[in-house]
Symmetry: C2
Subunit: 227 residues, 2 copies
Amino acid sequence: MLTLFHQPLCPLSRFVRLALGEYRLEARLIEERPWERRQEFLQINPAGSVPVLIDEGEPPICGAGVIAEYLHETRNGREPLYPADPGQRAEVRRLTSWFNDKFHAEVSGFLASERVFKRHMTREQGGGPPDTDAIRAARHNIRYHLAYIGWLVRTRDWLAGDELTYADLAAAAHVSAADYLGDVPWSEDEAAKAWYARVKSRPSFRPILAETVAGVPAADHYANLDF
Amino acid sequence: MLTLFHQPLCPLSRFVRLALGEYRLEARLIEERPWERRQEFLQINPAGSVPVLIDEGEPPICGAGVIAEYLHETRNGREPLYPADPGQRAEVRRLTSWFNDKFHAEVSGFLASERVFKRHMTREQGGGPPDTDAIRAARHNIRYHLAYIGWLVRTRDWLAGDELTYADLAAAAHVSAADYLGDVPWSEDEAAKAWYARVKSRPSFRPILAETVAGVPAADHYANLDF
């Protein structure tokens, strides 16, 4: 049995939930609030961050990228999320990191922290009113990422090539967190929107679309497959 | 023939150079100044960052972690830098990411940018006087990372277990960039110091120790194996 420590609007946690869904793996979900720095959790992951996957008898698998490699190595399904060629895999990893690292640092990390996580934090944990400059920067930055997604899928079926890969799951996970908050300017890029509609309609996406976060209502169109 | 776009005091570039050295691979080195956002380089890596490895006939391999996976998959030597067991590999990846992401964000990225890269940047590129608060924070943060290294190697031969792995190369790469600048408080942890002395004496480290950066002299003890 797998167990996943996650946080609902954390885009890195969403990425792992989508990967588990694509591999048709069930995992027990435990909602962790990393900002509380719970001692038992710090013993599992000294970095104190989510996601963390527990696979009994193994060391804790810490971090979105590390979990992706682990699932690929141990639970690779009939439709793998990496292509067979090492050069093509490098391209998938480049784009996965683009979203899990760069998009997270420039857009989705700010939005989730400032608009959601901070509400639950005490002042000592870093809580307080949202930093409107950070939110404004995130809403500015998302435009060029959306244009990049659109540019990629105008020449390819999926972000990294002919097949759905981890790159699509990473991009969609981060976009979905911003979309929950109504912060994706969909009218700016039709190709990006059409790509997201395709990913969003996969069965792996359903649990994420069905979930709402207490005190933070989802944008009206969030769960709508025809948005 | 391999080509590596790198920057001498960039710890992520150093990590890749150490990995190439351990695999006994020669690569042509091209010094890239990412802050200049050279058009030809942006076409190779749209993220604009180093390191980038070029392996003829393949897409560009962008980013330290992506390069590590690629070398493992295509150039795995007699002494691999990942263990054979997937759970143990996850532990190596956790620690590699600890240094390439966390240590970089809290220590070595600040030090390299504020103390070195900014000197070469115009005001438009983000240049200007060093941010002394950022440098002070990095010098504060390095203490707990050094303690973590020390804690790990008091119970294991190398950071992630019985063998040298990518985790040791990542940690040593980031520590070496800080050490060049004289910002490692070695007297604080004897075990961490003894571990670094072992990594530093490997042949893969020689080119990095021999290199100096124009205008930024290395700390006196930097290249000394008995520091």
